[in-house]
């Protein structure tokens, strides 16, 4: 072994960075992350233009929906193609309350979460009887069945024009897009902290246990059906909150906002971001918000006729989904982890602690073979 030269000591000054310890208690740890997030995002939104603030707000609301879906599908193994309909329930609840009552908007959002959670219960109970693709099919049917109900009773639900929503007034001189983005960001951070805690708790462990092997899980005393229903309820609640935020972003709630495509895009974004991880949902949300814009610029670049170019976004989206699922099923987050592991593996120093993949929040690899 050669003598350590000057280059080797150069990094010693900051090697304490590698060894930073955070509290072991999950709640504290997550809160500190959240605070970091608040700081970074405050900087971000002050620097960005109002339109970009709006987009950041949209990313935040999709993170909420995707986190809920990731919990249900990635961590609990129940494939749902119906979360778009849960979003609709939340959005309509909030909009109805806004139209007919004077309640504080936070109360209305809580009601949205509650209503969606109740719907999650109604769907979650029969869902316990179904596995894998059967469940996917039933939730697909649910996503198709729910929106036309609002069309049928159009006097209550506002019909075509829908129900208008009003964002609460921004304090001071903050422009409305930045204010709305902040409401959505705070909502997302709270959701993420709560979900991250849930995942580290015994509930999270029982979710994963049920996903991996129902019979073994029931033998250890986990009530399988209740666990599965709970996952549905939580996932639906998250979607309900996201739906309420979507209603605020759009300014109106009508059935055109909740087509089947929405549920498909949620599932796809979850997969592309990284099934089962919370961090990956950030990438998924970014994709959902930016992919259409990137595709429009791409087709403009290739100068295709307007007919073909309009559909290019859809085709690329589907193709990417297929390729990622076959070649890189852990999605972007999995890819990042793999890259990081290889980089830090080559830079590791004695004393630096690199935890195994399974220690990370939501870190179970999604392709554990299931029955």
């Amino acid at each position: 072994m050669t003598q350590p030269g000057p280059a080797d000591h150069a990094l010693d000054n900051i090697s304490w960075l590698w060894r930073l310890r955070l509290p072991t208690q999950p709640l504290l740890r997550h809160l500190i992350f959240a605070l970091c997030g608040v700081g970074i995002l405050y900087l971000l939104t002050s620097l960005l233009s109002p339109y970009n603030d709006y987009e950041v707000g949209e990313i935040a609301l999709y993170v909420i929906a995707l986190a809920g879906l990731s919990l249900l599908t990635g961590m609990n193994g129940q494939i749902s193609l119906g979360n778009g309909a849960f979003m609709a329930v939340g959005a309509y609840t909030m909009a109805l309350l806004m139209t007919h009552t004077q309640l504080n908007f936070i109360v209305e959002l809580l009601a949205a979460i509650g209503a969606a959670a109740v719907m999650g219960l109604l769907i979650g109970i029969p869902a316990t009887r179904l596995k894998g693709p059967y469940l996917a099919g039933m939730t697909l049917l649910f996503a198709l069945a729910l929106p036309p109900i609002a069309d049928k009773w159009s006097t209550t639900f506002g019909g075509d024009q829908g129900l208008t929503t009003t964002v609460p007034n921004a304090p001071g001189n903050i422009n409305p897009e930045e204010w709305l983005a902040w409401i959505q960001i705070i909502g997302a951070l709270i959701t993420l902290v709560l979900l991250a805690n849930l995942i580290q708790s015994r509930f999270g462990r029982s979710f994963r246990a049920v996903r991996d092997d129902e019979i073994a899980a029931s033998l250890t005393g986990i009530h399988v059906a209740r666990t599965k229903v709970l996952a549905f309820v939580i996932s639906a609640g998250c979607a309900g909150l996201a739906g309420g935020f979507l209603g605020l972003s759009t300014g109106v709630v009508n059935t055109g906002e909740f087509p089947l495509t929405l549920s498909i895009q949620l599932l796809a974004a979850m997969v592309l971001g990284g099934t089962g991880s919370l961090m990956g949902m950030l990438w998924g949300a970014v994709l959902l918000v930016y992919l259409p814009q990137w595709s429009t610029s791409l087709s403009g670049y290739f100068n295709l006729g307007s007919g073909a170019s309009a559909y290019l976004a859809t085709i690329i989206f589907g193709a990417v989904l297929i390729v990622v699922m076959i070649a890189a099923p852990t999605g972007i987050q999995g890819g990042l982890r793999w890259t990081w592991r290889h980089i830090s593996g080559s830079m590791s120093r004695p004393g630096a602690v690199i935890p195994p993949v399974s220690e990370l929040p939501g870190g179970q690899s999604p392709h554990v073979p299931m029955r």
Binding site: M138, L146, I315, F317
Partner: protein
Amino acid sequence: MGLFINVTLDGVSNGMIFAALALALVLIFRATKIINFAQGAMAMMTTFLASSLLAQDLGYWWAFVAALAIGFVFGALVERVLIRPLKGKSELNPVVVTIGLLVVLEGMAGAIYGNASRGFPAAYSQSGITIGHSKIAFSHFDVFIVVAVLVLMIAILVLFRATTLGLRMRASAFAGEISRLLGVRVGMLLTLGWALAGVAGSLAGLLVAPTSSFSPYYMDLVLVYAFTAAVIGGLESPVGALIGGVITGLCISYVGGYLGSGLQPLGALVLLMVALMARPEGIFARPPARRV
């Protein structure tokens, strides 16, 4: 009473179409335990190709047969290229891949064929058959639908029950490893299962097209109703697909006729949930043994 008869007949002919697509889903599920969410879109694609052939003045029956043949090849291709790599991995993967395929196919159809409105002719007259002095809501084309689907169903059953090939296919699906050890070319037979499903799907596409708004999305609801039909009948049973199809078709038709067309998907959902609570394996399936 007249409305009831019309609605019932409507339900039967729709139900047969659901049965054809449900048969495709059943064939695939038997072979590879996957639900192919893109089955409807694949059928849409072959029917669009058939309409291109018709526009070239190819004769209707030639285009019909060509669509079935393309469906056969398409099914085989999808299994080989997209589904084979997913073997042994999580259940989520094939769901996402088939949904991705659905999205790609609808996008391609939109891009290639554009948004122009178009129709697709029927094999036989769609005028109601005259009984007595009124026309009933059942035409020669509806008779053709029933006959075609029954013929397909019988052909599949004969294949499975009475031929060696069918026996090998059933063995590959039921006990793949052992069959392989016994010299059965399991991979080839799984591909064949998908290819046959492609034919069944194409048939459904050709039968639905004349009475739908013929756009890239015209098979979306049909797929969902066919899924309901397949699940009710038992996802492994061709006969179940037929019975499930007719039940679903009638249910949809009654809901549409008496409650309103917007509530039809809800009607299907309720039917599905009731069937699952009452008999989760389906009408015609044996309760599966679970390996512990």
